[in-house]
Symmetry: C2
Subunit: 126 residues, 2 copies
DNA sequence: TGAAACCTTCACATCAATGTGAAGGCAAAT
DNA sequence: ATTTGCCTTCACATTGATGTGAAGGTTTCA
């Protein structure tokens, strides 16, 4: 699929898709005329990249962990590919994700608690 | 406490503490000589702001939800203060936090799954 | 009193992510 | 075949969060 179609299906402007490619997050094939040719799986991939970017991860970190996220080909799944350094990096990234999750969860809970408290007050005084 | 102390205790440079004030996230008192004077509670507040910023929230959104997050004085806790519009805004923000949480959780799980799979392979072939 | 270490404001620089426009080639349809 | 719309690259602008430095006042302590 071409860049315009992928853009429409993901809501991400073509300019950004080219930028993600420049950042080594996408690697579309090229047609004979030089046009980018994305596989069907690119739709989910772009959505995943967007979600991670929106969650405050930088393209550099995304580039590093992306190869290990729901990779269907599992080409990396050879034990000798998981050096201790790489394992440590992945653990560290997972921990940083967890920190963000905890932070967001706390604040989500605080918002809900506030709403619940006000509503309780309202019914109480009705 | 003065800005240098708060900076040391939070790891956030003074420049940023002044920026957060400019963005209406912090409101320190001023001493006679014009120096900023932060209360003890500012330490936790700054940590909370940092967590939210790191999680991809913008200062504008943080400014809007901050008054409702673990506010001990509960000065906002009057039912008539919670207009339907404000309630909707808070609900919407909570939902956006939830989306981020889900996205980060999925990717954290994917990393863990990858590590577990490689480790299983390793023991299997040992 | 003077030096060191803080504070103030102002201003300009940087960095990542994104917007936008120009100049030109390709493709599908009337 | 020409228009219309998409594609290409190149390049400069913007925005939000930061870094950094200048110029000057304050506090502390020797």
């Amino acid at each position: 699929m071409r860049i315009g179609v992928l853009s429409q299906r993901t809501g991400v402007p073509p300019r950004m898709l080219r930028y993600y490619e420049e950042q080594d997050l996408l690697h579309p094939e090229r047609a004979d005329n030089g046009y980018r040719d994305y596989p069907e799986s690119a739709v989910r991939l772009v959505q995943q990249i967007r979600g991670l970017l929106d969650s405050g991860l930088t393209t550099e970190i995304i580039r590093r962990i992306l190869p290990f996220l729901d990779d269907p080909s599992q080409i990396h799944l050879h034990p000798q590919c998981l050096t201790p350094e790489l394992a440590a990096l992945l653990e560290a990234e997972a921990n940083r994700l967890q920190e963000r999750i905890d932070c967001l969860s706390r604040n989500r809970d605080a918002i809900h608690a506030y709403l619940a408290a006000v509503r309780a007050l309202r019914t109480e005084t009705t």
